[in-house]
């Protein structure tokens, strides 16, 4: 008469719910994914390994095996101690942002080996999100995009699963606290439907996120840019300062440093053989510097000069004012530099104009050599556009007043001087500066001089130019450029040593030049008074510079991946106020086209639609009827669509049922029992001939009480083997679960 529910037995703590198992695995995966951008940027495989081992090990140990985990006190103490030491250490030795990420990683790793409730899983999700935030600060590569998209899907799925688990746990906990019985919970939603909801949520989140990303106002430069140090991230082969104090073998890397889109007078340059000299810094002083140990090493330095702080637009104006004749051609270069580790900006000589959102309103300009540098640090990816005059056609730029260059610091009896005299002496008198420079270039780039990156046999006690010219006769670009600059200066020419990048590989898919670490280069600029300009000379012999792209599928794939990364950098990482302006202009043009029927195809289409919808040309009574008919038609169409959707969904549901029934029929056989026997045989339990399955199961359970699942499986075996009907899907799922629970 009176409803009395018997209290349900409380779940054993050593039996984690299947949902929690799944969640634990998801979170292990999620944290590893969130850590990847940081590990990538720091090149730390160890940390990702530690985190992955803790995460997956913790999942296996606690979620799957149902162990208790370390005591929470030990865990807390471990977190505080390890995180404290790590934090202090990293704060001193590393960047604070990265130190915070280390702290989070330690916390997450320890959290995984501690006993957990649904709340702890929530905390792990938050930790993973924070790791992703830090990853967004320090890593802007395509790897981050991949991690973000994986996080978006798996993370949302984990959150939804966690939501269900947490709700159930919350209700059960409250009932337990109140001493109420716990009736069995209704079944969890089927996994496919959870996946569908996740996909819907992820799509919605992505869509809204993308829209907000596009329209959110940008300031141009950060509020605290000057206060934030630049993070050292990707490796480049470029060094603005050159010195010859190390004897080592230089390894080449194909890592992309920057991407450049080139156009001449508005027309894109799509020539794979085009070689651009993207200069960074120049130096004109070849100095011998004594070391503390008494030895002397040689290095390049630029003449001390106070850079002029110029406004971006002013740079162009000053140049244009100095132009004697109209510029023949202008090369526009759009650079995307993944991480500018130094402050010099690259540009083809001579730069005429520069603009970029991150650069700020002012930059430093060295008038003597038109070197450009940014003020303060520029974190992350930098993109800017430079317009340069073509150096050999637009040469009529008035040169700034030159100081007399000091002589290179060579010994008075240096054989280099005699060599220069010999080369210049061999030229017809009077020798033109251009012919002298060409002769030196020709001398250096021909036999017996060869190009090599192996400098391990360099004698550091000897002057590098002498070492190249008279002993080794091989070296890399810095040696050859140094030799030529020194020789030109000895011959009385104005010459300077230039560092930067040369060439790059043309990516036909994206229409840009990919400049790699191996494209770092050094060359020479010599002032030719007759042409009133500095002319580029490249004395390096034909090097091993590999500009060819492998034609095999791997090469094509690399091009595609690189293009993808370029698009990511272009449209996401380097998205700026200019892009917003362009987007707005495009939307405005669509709107104006829509309002102008004769303007475009879109406008005509819109006008047609408007005329159709409003019933233009009809008088009022007819228009009313027309609208009524239109509304009815639209209603019917919606109804038809709705019905079709219902039919399609129902049909697919029935199809799924049929498929599931077939699948169930396949699984309903008794293979599971044979698998069980094989599994038990591995553990030393073999069914004897006289034993019935049930007797055998009893023996096993007696020996291993924790394997009570064997009894249930045996009963299901009887049902499958001797029962009249097939096993249903629930029983099949139970079989799978029980077999899995045996490990």
């Amino acid at each position: 008469m009176i409803s009395q529910a018997a209290p349900a037995p409380a779940p054993h703590p050593a039996q984690p719910a299947a949902g929690m198992q799944r969640l634990g695995l998801l979170l292990a995966f999620l944290l590893t994914i969130a850590e990847l951008p940081l590990a990538y940027i720091e090149g730390s495989v160890l940390r990702i390994a530690v985190l992955a081992i803790c995460a997956f090990g913790g999942w296996w140990w606690i979620d799957r095996r149902g162990r208790q985990g370390f005591s929470s006190r030990i865990g807390t103490a471990g977190v505080l101690l390890a995180a404290g030491i790590y934090f202090v250490h990293e704060w001193i030795h590393s960047h604070p942002v990265l130190a915070i990420s280390h702290f989070i990683v330690v916390m997450a790793a320890l959290k995984f080996v501690q006993p957990r409730a649904a709340r702890d899983y929530g905390q792990l999700i938050v930790l993973a999100l924070l790791l992703l935030v830090i990853g967004g600060v320090v890593n802007e590569t395509l790897a981050y995009a991949v991690c973000l998209s994986v996080f978006l899907t798996i993370g949302l799925y984990a959150v939804i699963v966690l939501h269900f688990e947490r709700e159930i746990e919350r209700v059960q906990q409250r009932r337990r606290q109140a001493g109420l019985p716990e009736p069995s919970m209704p079944p969890m939603p089927p996994l496919p439907s959870v996946r569908r909801v996740t996909a819907l949520a992820a799509l919605g989140t992505f869509f809204v996120g993308a829209v907000l990303f596009l329209v959110f106002p940008r300031l141009g430069s950060g509020l605290f840019d000057a206060a934030m140090p630049v993070l050292a991230a990707s490796v480049t082969g470029y060094a603005p300062n050159t010195s010859f104090d190390q004897a080592q073998r230089i390894s080449e890397s194909d890592a992309a440093v920057m991407r450049v889109v080139l156009s001449m007078d508005g027309e894109p340059i799509n020539d794979p053989d085009f070689v651009g000299y993207f200069r960074g810094n120049t130096a004109d002083l070849y100095l011998a510097t004594p070391r503390a140990d008494g030895r002397v090493f040689y290095q390049w330095e630029r003449t001390k000069e106070r850079p002029a702080a110029v406004e971006l637009s002013a740079l162009l104006e000053s140049h244009l004012a100095s132009v004697k004749e109209p510029i023949a051609h202008v090369i526009a270069q759009h650079y995307w530099i993944e991480d500018l580790r130094q402050r010099y900006l690259f540009a083809i000589y001579p730069p005429m104009n520069i603009r970029g959102a991150k650069i700020g309103h002012y930059l430093d300009h060295y008038p003597s050599d038109d070197t450009l540098s940014v003020r303060g640090g520029v974190g992350g990816t930098l993109d800017y556009v430079v317009e340069s005059a073509t150096p050999y056609s637009a040469t009529n730029l008035r040169l700034p007043a030159r100081r007399k260059q000091p002589e290179p610091q060579l010994a008075p009896d240096s054989p280099v001087r005699k060599l220069v005299e010999r080369i210049v002496g061999g030229l017809p008198k009077p020798a033109e500066p251009e012919s002298i420079a060409s002769a030196i270039e020709k001398y250096l780039s021909s036999r017996p001089f060869t190009y090599t990156l192996d400098n391990s046999d360099v004698n550091l006690n000897r002057e590098p130019v002498e070492e190249l010219l008279f002993r080794r006769r091989r070296g890399h670009c810095e040696y050859f450029a140094t030799a030529m600059t020194v020789m030109c200066q000895l011959a009385g020419l104005d010459a300077r040593f230039v560092t930067g990048y040369r060439g790059g590989v043309y990516n036909a898919i994206g229409g840009y030049y990919q400049v790699r670490q191996r494209d770092a280069h050094a060359w020479v600029e010599v002032l030719i008074p007759s042409r009133e300009c500095w002319v580029v000379f490249d004395p390096s012999p034909a090097s091993a510079q590999n500009r060819a792209v492998a034609a095999d599928w791997l090469g094509v794939l690399r091009q595609y991946v690189d293009n993808l990364e370029f698009q990511w950098l272009n449209f996401v990482v380097a998205y700026s106020t200019q892009n917003q302006g362009k987007l707005k202009e495009r939307v405005d043009s669509w709107i104006s086209a829509a309002n102008n029927p004769a303007g475009s195809g879109f406008g005509r289409l819109w006008a047609m639609f408007r005329s159709f919808a409003l019933g233009e040309g009809l008088n009022f009574p007819l228009r009313i009827r027309y609208w009524a008919l239109l509304i009815a038609l639209v209603g019917l169409s919606i109804l038809w669509l709705r019905l079709t959707t219902v039919l399609v969904v129902r049909g697919s549901r029935e199809l799924r049922e049929v498929w599931r029934a077939r699948r169930t029929a396949r699984v309903n056989r008794v293979e599971f029992y044979e698998r069980l026997l094989r599994r038990l045989a591995r553990e030393g339990f073999t069914r004897r001939a006289h034993q019935t399955p049930w007797e055998f199961a009893q023996d096993v359970i007696r020996a291993r009480p924790q394997w009570s699942a064997v009894g249930q499986l045996t009963r299901l075996y009887y049902e499958a083997r001797f029962g009249a009907g097939e096993l249903n899907s629930g029983q099949t799922a139970l079989i799978r679960r029980l077999v899995d629970s045996l490990g």
Partner: protein, 404 residues
Amino acid sequence: MKVSHPKTNTADGQHATPVRARRRMMGDFSFTGNGAMFVVVAALIGVAAMAQQINLLFLLFGMCMGSLLVSGMLSGKPLRRVRIARLVPEAAVVGRPFEIRYILSNPSRLKRAYSIHLRERLDAEKIRGDCEAFAPCVAPQQSLEVAAPLVCLRRGRLPLSEIILSTRFPFGLFRKSATATIQNEMIIYPATGRLKIPIRQPRGLTGAISTRDLRAGPEAEEFHGLRDYARGDNPRWIHWRRSVRIGRLLVREMRRVQRPQLVLIVDPRVASTRPEDIHRREQVISAAATFCLAGLERGLAVGLVGLTAPPLVIPPVAGLEHRAKFLRELALIEPAEQVDPGEIAAQMHWPPAWAGHCVVLTSTEDQAIQRVSRIFAARCRSLESLVAGTPRFMQAIALEDDAG
């Protein structure tokens, strides 16, 4: 557990009628703790993005805002979609768990309703814990039955009116709720215990010796003897064989056999409104319920007199089918204000047939109750007085001391 249509009976056969909810969307919307934390984190990401102009942080900020928006859009839909019916048992007992069942129906053809949390709006003093249930998922055009266990702490009426449906789906950031109003009522019976003493049964059964006639009630009669026929006797009761043998008319004389009676006099007054006094009063009610059930189970005719205004009187009846009636009356019994129980007892009509064993149950032993005892001692064959909280009371009855 899926059912194709709402059931009209609960699992234990208790009748209940499903009522279609009249829902009113209150627009109740609030952030959860996690949601507030998420908003703070998202705001910090936004500030960091603005401060540093890092596009990836803008993207992440957009995603966070997107998930908030999606969460807001998805969370309210299940509540708008679902219909609810409540299945309640007619009664329950104080301190014993029982279930209220809910049938959630999803009329949508395509969409599932996820993560619906139900909670009855009840007086917290009357129940232990919360009356709540959780439905993870209701498939399209399906119904789902969920159970909410409940323990009531006080006897009496338990009005059920508002069911609060809420959801935190999908990410647990918001809590959206709606209120469904379905009027139901339950009677919560007093807690019962176990009698430690036998019920005293007075010797010598009261029986009116009379010739059996149609006016005889349902009570059993047995043969008592023969007597001479008198004018007016029913000829059907003439004992012809003996009359022939003796030579004069004799009629059968029957004796009405009365069941042993147990009359319970319940005094629901309390000395004060202190909790211990209230507790003692509830002990009295529970003791009365225990006596009732025990008496009915042992075949006694049990009567109940409540010293309330107007007085509660149930004449002595036998049979287990009367159990619910007694429990219901005891569940609803309330003390009369400023009424002298002695006066009530004195004015009460007391048929001579109600002369069995009488038990006076009270929580206060004052002059009024002594007067009541004297009055009923004169009317009944024997009288026993039990005062809650006294050792005698404890020796007589063991209560499940769950009543508040």
